[in-house]
Symmetry: C2
């Protein structure tokens, strides 16, 4: 390689990539042997790697050695069957193959012309998915709407917020920005706040409406109505509502139909974030959680969470694509081409923040084809069944309590504090979480609900089976015993 | 698979992924046999694929058949050696291996804790790269600044624009948004305009300063100074300047030092977009093009263009990371963890638009290690040498003219129009471009400079050799002969 660099030689690609396949397959074979949460200390890697890039090429075997010895210890293993933190981030054989192929073609599908198959497959697969979710027809590409793959749900909510902002400012004038009000609940993902920061919504006009256990942390329509009335009386302009199906903290479900009706009355953009729980809605018995989506202007779910499609693959549907395009399009000379100028094609560059985009529909297409709808439904049901079992285990031990009702595959619980505990078990549960995570045997994360420190047990890793859930429960019980003995 | 879905089985992954490796290696072997620009018509794929997702799983071999027969005809082959459009989008064996590994781990590195190796390797590799470019020390992670991988240069300019906006609004008050002025040239990438739209900069305050052939389409410092003075006299607030090293149209280079000095005087944020040409600056003989970068607040180059690192991998460095974090951070309970709370780590979620992020530093690390700096320099030099040769070929045919001087590996030229041509050769060159692209033999794109329709010949695909450049020139000559005969 030193004499003449051939950075893309098909036979070298073949040879090296076969080695990488074996490396990755072996990783999955061994994945249970690693501590789930990386146990390294901040700055560990700097001490292990050189200060500058090499001048001369190095061997692939040396790189593999470094990955084994230096990188893997710093990995938190999201694909481990013992991973129960945050929400899952699924990898699968089909999703992985799709990523490989996308990286192989390495096309940049900003416009239709840049690779027609990339745009068209995305439209087709998003239509397939909309039908699986029984979304209203207006979300299909055949009408005024359509679906698009965004990187993340954060980008999805940002682009629709921008579309809604610019639509209202066009009527009310740019200087009305200071009057625009956004509504969500205190359970809405922080991506909503970030989108507001980016879009320049005035912080004092970002309404984080309170929820509590009486509604299982769902946003109450009357709370929304009241807030809107108050804002209107101050001359403000309510323009955007974000509801969630499966909140990040406790998988709470906002009542879409009633919230949607309110937003209609006030001519607000209604966005539904079903990033996590949207996957479950391909099963008829869970579909009712998105009843009311017909009132939504936009709907988002992440195929990269619980749908076996490697990150990133966030699906966004809108009813009115022209609002997105109005807000996000540019038309520089160097990108002009006949197909775009004739308006005969979709150019997804105008539906998203970046210009360039990967051929991400390949992986979703491969997941749908290699597994099929029925298998995918079984996959979801299996995780929910495991969550039910875990919930029963918790309930069987009187030292613990379930803190919020389980709807999908997330269980929120805590260790009950001793009577007269100073902080109502906050520190106790903090320490329990810390202990189980430091054990390396499982990885969980937490939230705070009504001031209580709550442990989240989120099932959804593709490799997780009943035995892992049972073993995790044992780890929790053992650590709880140790902690309670100490306190 | 029907009875029990094992979506992540290490042995099935191994078996299927080996097949995919061969499929992709075979694709590269055959890549010259495909029309470079896809020749399909809008809507072609809808007629070839079913209307809905399958209920039952399908076979991998059927999927491969569909990719061969239905997808590949709709691909525009960015990795073809005969691809000379836009700017290149490099794939390489090392970059591909990095993508595979990143998809294999499939971690979501939003915070340090989510996989320490992902954050730390990114910091290390961006420091390596900064040293290769001889960026000022303030851009290194060891001080107040640092580097971060963004998806695209569009996201890079957006995040620094937001940081700059929020910094000034903090002083001047939110309502001053209507006074903020952004400066760039008419050669600046459309990403700047889009970032302004997103950030809510008033369209009338977006200054697109004129350039012309007298400065080879570089932004003149006196033009900038004049515009700033005028805006100040109207009570406006100049706050952001974007300069470019290697513009999209003609690879023009703005004079960083003088522009930077002006921005300093007016306390403006100075961003340098070297998305394309930054790669060349690892060669000592081209480094002078970024002289003056020491005046910049932020600097961006795309490793996914001309640096053998598969898309997406846009490198952004800032001198003051706190400005980014101030603008883009959120701190929800569900992401809190000891390392972040103790401020002992970097959480890249606060340096970017999305929350989730892939382990993208792996591919850049593998490119740097498997090829080494010297080989990478040779790679760049080889392409520039080919561009020189192409330029000589153009100059040897009196029917053509070079429209803008060549600095790197892009040649801007056109077919000279006959005397008294109505539109000064616009249609003639439009037709020439259309003809060569329809031939399927090569793919080029265009721009307009000083009203002239200009053909862009951008060399930089990893497989391009001298013979491809010579053959492309033959295609151009032949089509020109046909066109001129007809006119």
């Amino acid at each position: 390689m030193e004499s003449e660099l051939k950075p893309m030689d098909s036979e070298q690609l073949r040879e090296y990539a076969h080695k990488m396949v074996d490396f990755i397959a072996d990783y999955y074979k061994m994945i249970e042997s690693f501590p789930v949460l990386s146990q390294v200390k901040p700055g560990y890697l700097k001490e292990l790697l050189p200060d500058s890039a090499p001048c001369k090429p190095e061997n692939l075997e040396d790189v593999f050695d470094d990955i084994r010895q230096k990188i893997i210890p710093g990995i938190t293993h999201w694909q481990s069957p013992d991973y129960f933190a945050y929400y899952p981030s699924n990898s699968s054989t089909a999703g992985f193959l799709g990523e490989m192929l996308s990286a192989g073609f390495n096309i940049i599908g900003f416009s239709w012309i840049a690779s027609p198959a990339a745009t068209e497959l995305e439209m087709i697969v998003l239509d397939w998915f909309a039908k699986m979710l029984k979304l209203p027809e207006q979300f299909l590409s055949t009408g005024q709407g359509g679906g698009v793959i965004q990187g993340t749900a954060s980008e999805a909510v940002l682009v629709v917020l921008l579309a809604a902002r610019d639509k209202i400012l066009l009527k009310a004038g740019r200087k009305s920005l200071e009057k625009l009000v956004v509504y969500c609940s205190d359970q809405t993902h922080s991506a909503m706040q970030k989108a507001c920061q980016i879009a320049g919504i005035f912080p004092e006009n970002f309404r984080v409406l309170k929820t509590d256990s009486s509604s299982n942390y769902a946003l109450l329509p009357e709370v929304l109505s009241e807030a809107i009335s108050k804002d209107l009386s101050f001359g403000l302009i309510p323009f955007f509502l974000c509801a969630t199906v499966g909140t990040t903290s406790s998988a709470a479900v906002d009542p879409l139909l009633k919230l949607g009706n309110i937003s209609k009355v006030h001519d607000m953009w209604f966005h539904v974030d079903a990033a996590h729980a949207g996957s479950a809605c391909i099963c008829p018995e869970y579909r009712h959680h998105i009843d009311g989506v017909e009132e939504a202007d936009s709907f988002c779910m992440n195929a990269h969470k619980w749908f076996l499609t490697n990150f990133d693959c966030s699906l966004l549907w809108v009813k009115d694509r022209s609002a997105l395009i109005q807000s996000l399009s540019t038309n520089p000379e160097f990108l002009k081409n006949k197909a775009s100028q004739e308006n005969s094609v979709v150019d997804f560059k105008d539906w998203q923040i970046p210009l360039g985009r990967r051929f991400r529909s390949l992986k979703l297409w491969m997941v749908l084809r290699l597994y099929g709808l029925e298998n995918l439904q079984s996959y979801i049901r299996e995780h929910i069944k495991l969550a039910e079992q875990f919930e029963q285990l918790i309930s069987s031990d009187s030292r613990f309590e379930i803190v919020a009702p389980r709807t999908f595959s997330l269980v929120c619980f805590r260790l009950l504090p001793p009577l007269y505990d100073q902080d109502d078990g906050y520190k106790l549960n903090y320490n329990l979480l810390d202990a189980v995570n430091r054990s390396g045997k499982i990885f969980m994360s937490h939230t705070v609900l009504s001031g209580k420190f709550v442990l989240r047990f989120a099932i959804g890793a593709p490799l997780t089976e009943e035995r892992h859930v049972v073993a995790a429960w044992k780890v929790l019980q053992d650590e709880a015993t140790i902690l309670l003995r100490g306190s």
